[in-house]
Amino acid sequence: MALRTGKKTMSTQETPESGMTGAAIMLKALVDQGVTDIFGYPGGAVLPLYDELFNQNSIRHILVRQEGGAVHAAEGYARSTGKVGVVLVTSGPGATNAVTGLTDALMDSIPLICISGQVPTHLIGNDAFQECDTTGITRPCTKHNYLVKDVNDLARVMHEAFYVAQSGRPGPVLIDLPKDVAMAKGTYTAKQKVKPRHYNPQVKADPAKIEQAVDMIARAKRPIIYAGGGVINSGPQASKLLTEFTRLTGYPCTLTLMGLGAYPANDKQYLGMVGMHGTYESNMAMHHCDLMIAVGSRFDDRITGRLDAFSPGSKKIHIDIDPSSINKNVPVDLGVVGDVKSVLGDILKVYKARKVKPDQKALKGWWQQIDGWRKRDCLSYDKSSTKIIKPQYAIERLYELTKKKKKVLITTEVGQHQMWAAQHFHFNKPNRWMTSGGLGTMGYGLPAAVGAQIAHPDALVIDIAGEASIMMNIQEMSTIAQYRLPVKVFILNNQYMGMVRQWQELLHGGRYSESYMDSLPDFVKLAESFGGVGMRATTPGELDDLIKEMIAVDKSVIADVCVDQMENCFPMIPSGAAHNEMLLGPNDSAEQSVSEEGMVLV
């Protein structure tokens, strides 16, 4: 940046062995870890770190407008690259603002490092200015956290933190750094010299389990592969192996919301997304299968619905790197602990060596049954209106008009638009889809798009948003302006918290308590005020031009797409219902399938 006129300090230039300040040690550790971008916001407790940042050119700091935005940006950065996202926040309010993002990253297994400033060690516990018990507050929402009290521990802690964030099941790690430690002088320890901690998750599976898995796979008559975010976590090679395995066996494959892109959506063996708003064919196949092969997916309640009615007749194999995911919600017959890439590689080896031939006759019958379910065409919607834009249609056009682009990265907010994006936008590659699945954090999409665009300056990055969610982190438009990021915000504006309205309609007699979005800003003017381009479409006829123009302009865009206010998202398995009790459209009533127990579920 033009303002970086400060000279390099001694500490970053000189031999790194001793006499470096904590702040310099931290920066050096980041550089050693290959970090090139960090997302942050300054404050009193982190001033020494910012001073150090000012004096160097290896790391770019992206100034967000709220710390919550920094964490989601780092998530978008991490999910779209497979690298660790890095966040820097100040003590007190800086740290507490980061809590939602840390929880989001924990739920979705996103590797992050969050560095927070802290009051000087002698003031800790004194209710000092901008003090909070950051390690206490973040203990349950990080994979691990540290309070560094000795500057000579700092380098080791930093390197260990990067190791912990990325190994096994990835997650956020926080390092709380008191200001006096940041200013004290100490010794740097290089990455290679840090002895790894005993923490050592199992990557390679037990060979006996691989053999057993292949036995079960070979015997299956009605199999289904149910893959999830763990495949994405395992890296692009894991997606390739999943595709190879699926093609080789001829088995059907479904993906979770977090897994979209792990298997090509345009493939004929793909059944679409599974779960509450997944396809009819996927959920019916999950219900009726005789073998379920779970690959890096965690039997979330959005998938299982009513537990005692979940896939009652099947044997289940569960491949997961985290032993605590296995047998957590659903007891399985074979748990295989290991990394997806390694496990699928091993399974393929044994499968090929044994020359396994699946039962073709059974498989043919199974596919016929699946094709029958497919004929229900569960994602269809009313296309008759020429006046009102159906939200599904808007996503469909967005997909059609962008699918030839080389790299399209989609982020979303949370709500109906998120589900329509998952259903109607198709992903053929991993790391192209960034969404908040586990925590369901409204306001995730815009900052995540910032992070994704920073990591991929040439990609077309689109936040598919709802008008309510976008207001939760709208301040990040200013970050987008500062760094001239050509992020596109595609709002499906239904003037409702649509997902809330839908549940109120289904479960609470249509009493739309507080779910109408009044007093919305003029999104076109809003875009302009942030130096971007604002656009609006109100009829289906205007949609294609809007999308084409949105892609063509080399600036940030907010596209206000005014869609049908009353459209609901189908198919839907109401909470607490079984897979075969799916609602396929507005004429199905939820009341028959939602029990009192179901009503208390979220």
């Binding site: 390690t135 206490g136 203990r139 349950p140 994979k143 691990h144 956290n145 309070l147 912990v164 099941r169 901690r197 005993h198 923490y199 044997k315 289940k316 985290d322 032993p323 605590s324 296995i326 047998n327 957590k328 007891p331 399985v332 017959d333």
Partner: protein, 171 residues
Amino acid sequence: MNTQSAEVNAHTISVLVDNEPGVLARVIGLFSGRGYNIESLTVAEVNLKENLSRITVVTSGTPMIIEQIKAQLTRLVPVHKVADLTVDGPHVERELALVKVKGKGEKRVEALRIADIFRAHALDSTNESFIFEIVGKTAKVDAFIDLMKPLGLIDVSRTGVVGIARGLGAL
């Protein structure tokens, strides 16, 4: 599908952890955050050289829940080892209690007599009180305390269970 018995049983779990700030909070937070019971919990440093502490937790749950507790504990970064003493084989468990009894005359004599039967030692005495130290399995300690109630029990302090596997193996 596995046939999982849904019977709830008490399990004594040993956890070897790095002795570092916050480690106990992590373990306790895991139990409270995920809704598991803690019936008793003890912790102390057991290996100065390697800076390791041993936590003994008595908890209860179905076999599936106990497996989950073990997996969740193992997942914590400072945790080295987790063992379920109750299912892993023969082991011994002990608890220590300090029991204060106040009384005169007949009751005082009876308290001393019972203490003798339970092999409890008197650590402190005044004209009107004793402090007994009793070591044993939880059930024995419970029984002793019950017997002391009508004899003037006024205060109890218990360590909670510590346990260790029999034979040559180590955690």
